[in-house]
Symmetry: C2
Subunit: 303 residues, 2 copies
Amino acid sequence: MLKRLLLVAANNKRLERQLGTNPRTRKLVSRFVAGTTLEEAIQVTKDLNNRGIAVSLDLLGETVEDLRKSAVATAAYIEAVQAIARECPGATVSVKLSQLGIGLDPAVCAAHLDDLLRAADDVGVLVEVDMEHSSVGGATLEAFRAALENYPDTRVAMQAAMRRTPNDLESFTKTKPRIRLVKGAFLETAERALQAHDEVTSQYLYLTDWALEHLPDPAFGTHDDRCIDHVKEAAVRLGVDRSSYEFQMLYGVRRDLQQKLADEGYRIRIYVPYGTEWYPYLMRRMAERPANLIFFLRSLVSG
Amino acid sequence: MLKRLLLVAANNKRLERQLGTNPRTRKLVSRFVAGTTLEEAIQVTKDLNNRGIAVSLDLLGETVEDLRKSAVATAAYIEAVQAIARECPGATVSVKLSQLGIGLDPAVCAAHLDDLLRAADDVGVLVEVDMEHSSVGGATLEAFRAALENYPDTRVAMQAAMRRTPNDLESFTKTKPRIRLVKGAFLETAERALQAHDEVTSQYLYLTDWALEHLPDPAFGTHDDRCIDHVKEAAVRLGVDRSSYEFQMLYGVRRDLQQKLADEGYRIRIYVPYGTEWYPYLMRRMAERPANLIFFLRSLVSG
């Protein structure tokens, strides 16, 4: 119920303006967002790398209203992959195709994605494609499938909550792309997605085994101890070395655990968002994890 | 909770003996089971056929403890397909591979299945393979996959509740076998199957669309109005004629609805069990539908 409210709030422009002008939200934002500029994000990446933690950079921003903005976002991503290659090789970028215009013109979006993938490939940086709401999910997956032909190391996020995900995964058993398994943080109907949190978690465990068995170098995007423990246990059971999969977590969430996994020799990559459009990103983080919401409310009260 | 209890009871030999000697259970058994002999089952089939309703015959019996019994069951099924060809062509048989010994020796079971499929093919009768508990589900599906090579019209039941089902279905997109979509009536862990009834229903709706889009002549095994309405609506939406799919229901369950669908020009096939081993079959029917349980309790009280 609360989750639903927060996910609706994520699309509320008025609330966004109000929170944006509230100085108390600053502290919150700075915990979960690396900064407003690429330079700040690169600095955070270097700090994390020094602690044995890999990074995927995310330029904040979601659906664009005109194609001009999608070109601007593409250029910003190309700038990011070039900065990564120079300053912190090993980092990846995570891109939302809605930001590249998939909702406006799939062909233009595909051209933008191709520009980004070529630029990244030129400098040896890998790209990860975020999975978004089902309204663009199908198109995102098709764009990813097409991109695989020239850039087979590209990774795509797959949401355990979506009913179509096992079908989509099974369709990958020949091409064997790299995926990031996440639970899924969008508001979806019962026809499209599992609704009960327990069911989503159980589905995540099931798909963890499937991914470890069938796909190379899977990433497990989760902060849930039950999921993390299951990944470790399933990998041992299935004979997958800890060098052959990675955990992914969000910047600012369970920082102690991030460091602990790195110290124990597990590969871990942190999704580091930067930019000015932090509002919908943050609302989804509140919705998916009560602890984040509590931190948010505390920072609003205590300033 | 109650469902779980009944599914546990389905494996309880002591309860089986007690109910088997209770004269009041007779009425109940005769509602859901066509009789103890093949002759009685054939007579029920003819009666249903006369009302525009197709049939699949099921020789009651589950896991066999020794391979001799699996040979006896196979011979009984072969007798059934020959009787069908003579007396009520158009009927199919539904076979549980546990009954043919899949839990004891998959190779022996495969040979039995092949004998049955050949005998059925010789007289133009189709065979449907029931899906059972996950302890034999994987082996059942592999046996079905092998059987498809020579007998591509064989049908297999797929359980919406099982997490692996969308993967299994997707793996069929090339061979395109006929399936029967059911919700699934076995006691399974959360790791293997959806637990919440609502989630299973939603998954059934999702897979209904998938089956209508991807597979020929799907059967929808359900007594749930929501599922039935969705099948009809999805078929219209996807341009699938009502001659290109069928409903399947169990003997004795929602008899008015069975007739109504037939009268409206929908294809409907009734799963007609016969034989002496009615106990686990009946317990599963109680577990999956409260109305069946109420009928059961009433018949115990009123005699």
